[in-house]
């Protein structure tokens, strides 16, 4: 049952207004006597009708019962079965006052005083004397609990031709009957369905088939109800099947499976559902707008006209605002996604006989809607993996002094332009020795390489890596972590892992907040232009002369820490010009930093990311492209990938240590 106390305020508010409207209409009717005006009468009728209707659904039956007669009288007036006269209108006005009094009692939570109830009888008598209305049962249909025993029936149904066009679906009728606990066997009589090659397409929107049903464990009332609407124009015959002994069981008294009200009423905030495609189109169009307005701004700079410049600046500001607002629309709370995992956790832990409880933090953290579907698979894999490999069995946990229930937590938060999702568990942690062994076995590292714990842990993302001894069909073998990483990288994100043996493991996903528009920092190397995501840029410096630093150097010492270089000229095979003193754009991604070596710094720049064509997709280090106002193309650098590939090698650390 719906919690009605919440809408009492709405009803009272509405009812008070309606009472006023009713009074106004009645007074208007009175003032034009002996003439009458259909429109005013209709207005009055509608007021009474709505009071009755609203009171009914909210459950104030007393008001319903009284107003019923008022409404019925108004209906007679509206249908010209009765003529308005002064006395009738006076009585109606008194009735309206009475309704008002009833509502006031509701508002102050008082019982109806005796005086009121007494007056009521008198009013109703007066009304009836005018309208000739007889006492009627309350207009509300009471659902009679049917204690009929269930039986079997044979139903022969010939539906009227246009039934499906009117929105009826015989399958729905069958499902309805089944939902009451009956079983239905259907014989489709299709001999009159025309052949496809002998008929016009819209003929097939009409119903040409008949049905014969055998229904068990049902009642005539349920079947009548099921066919009620479609029966009016169809030929439905229902006959009990006598040879079956009627089962003496009583009809279940709750006819519908009653759901608890799981859904809290939505916030007072009005919500709208928008087809995702429309939003995507809007974002796209917005992107074009951004590009064109950038071109406008460029061009305006060449014309020295301060009034024009001011206007264009204003436009730029508006465009920027619209853009922010639109991108906001695409954001959804990650809680919706996280909630799906309760089921996954429950099923997986049951299957593997582990005891796991799920903790969710940061559910209100927002991310781009288009991102959501893309991360569900990798998240699912990581969750299952954590339960499968990470969690010890309850017995093992008890042995090592841990609580039997393992905790798996999903946490989300924003951090410098990214959304971070952490999947952590308090299980057995990663076995670093085993991982190292395996990596050596597979020639991923040389036997005497020194690696930090974190570097060892992250080896699990290398392709073909799986140390699980048994292949469970939960997380599979070897198709796991590197596919997870690929999926995350495909949305310009990164994934890393940290672990403490016997204590637990934490996977961290970093994802960009939006995939469509980027605030970037434009740079050039030779003739090529590149865009670096602004949220990853920390500073720009000139390549310091001296210190033996040249274009060939791979790193510098920046205020005490090693800053590895990324030479775009090398990566993209571009010519270098010894006359130009290069600049360094220092970028940061998570804990890692690097310096991107470029020829020129071209400034901040906002642009729409266009996906790469097939030709460029293979190109590592580029995550998209953008069309400039001039028509040129700028390539958007995939900073995380570049840092990972070129600046994060264990070798570079070795250099630093030497």
């Amino acid at each position: 049952m719906v919690d009605l106390s919440e809408i009492q305020a709405v009803f009272i508010e509405e009812a008070k207004e309606l009472v006023l409207q009713f009074e106004e209409s009645l007074l208007a009717m009175e003032s034009i006597l002996p003439n009458s005006d259909d429109e005013i009468i209709n207005e009055a009728f509608r007021a009474a009708h709505t009071i009755k209707g609203s009171a009914g659904v909210v459950g104030y039956d007393h008001i319903v019962d009284f107003t019923h007669f008022v409404e019925a009288t108004m209906e007679l007036l509206r249908d010209h079965a009765l003529n308005p006269c002064e006395k009738l209108i006076s009585t109606l006005l008194e009735c309206n006052d009475h309704i008002n009094a009833l509502i006031k009692c509701l508002e102050s939570n008082e019982d109806f005083p005796q005086a009121l109830t007494d007056a009521e009888a008198g009013l109703l008598e007066s009304l009836k004397s005018y309208s000739g209305l007889q006492d009627q049962a309350s207009s509300e249909q009471t659902v009679v609990e049917n204690q009929e025993a269930t039986q079997s029936f044979r139903v022969s149904a010939q539906f009227y031709k246009a039934c499906m066009v009117d929105g009826f679906d015989p399958l729905s009728i069958i499902r309805y009957i089944e939902s009451k606990g009956s079983t239905v066997e259907v014989d489709w009589l299709i001999d009159e369905v025309p052949a496809l090659n002998a008929v016009t397409p819209d003929e097939l929107e009409l119903c040409h088939f008949r049905m014969q049903l055998e229904i068990h464990h049902s009642t005539r009332e349920d079947i009548n109800e099921a066919f009620e609407f479609i029966a009016a124009e169809s030929n439905i015959e229902i006959a009990p099947i006598e040879d079956d002994k009627p089962t003496p069981t009583l009809v279940k008294t709750d006819k519908q499976p009653t759901k608890n009200n799981k859904v809290k009423p939505k916030n007072p905030e009005r919500m709208m559902k928008i087809p995702a495609q429309k939003l995507d189109e809007l974002v796209n169009e917005l992107g074009e707008l951004v590009i064109v307005s950038a071109a406008l701004e460029d061009h305006t700079k060449t014309i020295r006209d301060s009034a024009l410049t001011e206007i264009v600046e204003h436009i730029q500001q508006l465009v920027s605002d619209v853009q922010s607002s639109t991108l906001q629309l695409r954001m959804v709370q990650i809680g919706e996604t996280f909630n799906r995992f309760s089921r996954v956790v429950r099923d997986t832990s049951k299957e593997l006989e582990k005891q796991v409880s799920l903790e969710i933090m940061g559910a209100e953290t927002e991310l781009d809607k288009s991102m959501v579907e893309k991360i569900v698979d990798p998240l699912t894999h990581l969750v299952r993996n954590a339960i499968d490999h990470g969690m010890e069995s309850p017995a093992q946990r008890a042995d090592s002094g841990k609580p039997e229930y393992g905790t798996l937590s999903l946490k989300a938060f924003h951090d410098s332009g990214s959304i971070v999702i952490e999947i952590s568990d308090d299980g057995r942690g990663l076995d670093k020795e085993k991982i190292k062994e395996k990596a050596i076995q597979r020639n991923l590292i040389s036997p005497d390489t020194e690696l930090t714990d974190k570097e060892i842990a992250n080896l699990i993302f290398e392709p073909g890596f799986s140390t699980a001894e048994k292949v469970s069909n939960i997380s599979g073998r070897g198709v796991g972590m590197d596919v997870v990483r690929k999926n995350i990288e495909a949305v310009r994100g990164t994934v890393s892992v940290e672990s403490v043996e016997h204590q637990g493991t934490c996977f961290q996903l970093r994802l960009p907040l939006t995939m469509a528009i980027i605030d970037g920092f434009m740079v050039s190397v030779a003739d090529a232009k590149f865009v670096i995501p602004l949220d990853m840029v920390t500073e720009c410096i000139e390549l310091p002369l001296g210190n033996g630093a040249t274009r060939q150097t791979d790193y510098i010492n920046l205020r005490g820490t090693v800053l590895p270089f990324i030479h775009l000229s090398r990566i993209f095979d571009l010519p270098t010009n010894p006359k130009i003193r290069p600049s360094i754009v220092v970028v940061k991604y998570g804990q890692l930093r690097a310096g991107i070596v470029v020829d020129q710094l071209l400034g901040e720049f906002q642009t729409v990311i266009k996906p790469l064509g097939a030709l460029f997709e293979k190109m590592s280090g580029i995550s998209g492209s953008s069309i400039l106002g001039s028509g040129d193309i700028a390539l958007i650098l995939d900073v995380p990938k570049l840092i990972h590939d070129f600046a994060h090698e264990p070798e570079s650390r070795k250099l630093a240590n030497s």
């Binding site: 489709w188 052949a195 496809l196 097939l204 929107e205 040409h208 088939f209």
Partner: protein, 94 residues
């Protein structure tokens, strides 16, 4: 003598029947003798959709329709459609 395989769309309800019927009509030719329907994409069907498939079956006077694209892991409505077509003698499982 030609065989024809028709892939049913994801949704086949009265809203789609007229368009899909016209499309299938074009696919049928005079010498089509055997028709197979592929249910692997089917997610939603109603009585009108079912009727359309029956109409298709009524064209294939020589052999009943073959049904492919249904397996245990499939959407319940594909299974339902297969079973109902078989029960009505319109189709057989390939």
């Amino acid at each position: 003598m030609s065989n024809l395989t028709i892939v049913l769309p994801e949704v086949l309800t009265i809203y789609e029947v007229s368009k899909v019927a016209a499309k299938w009509q074009l696919m049928l030719s005079d010498d089509t003798t055997a028709v197979a329907i592929d249910l692997s994409e089917l997610l939603e069907v109603d009585a009108a959709g079912f009727q359309l498939v029956v109409a298709l079956a009524q064209c294939c006077t020589e052999k009943p329709l073959s049904v492919i694209g249904v397996d245990e892991h499939h959407s319940p409505c594909a299974l339902w459609l297969l079973n109902t077509l078989v029960a009505s003698n319109c189709a057989q499982r390939r």
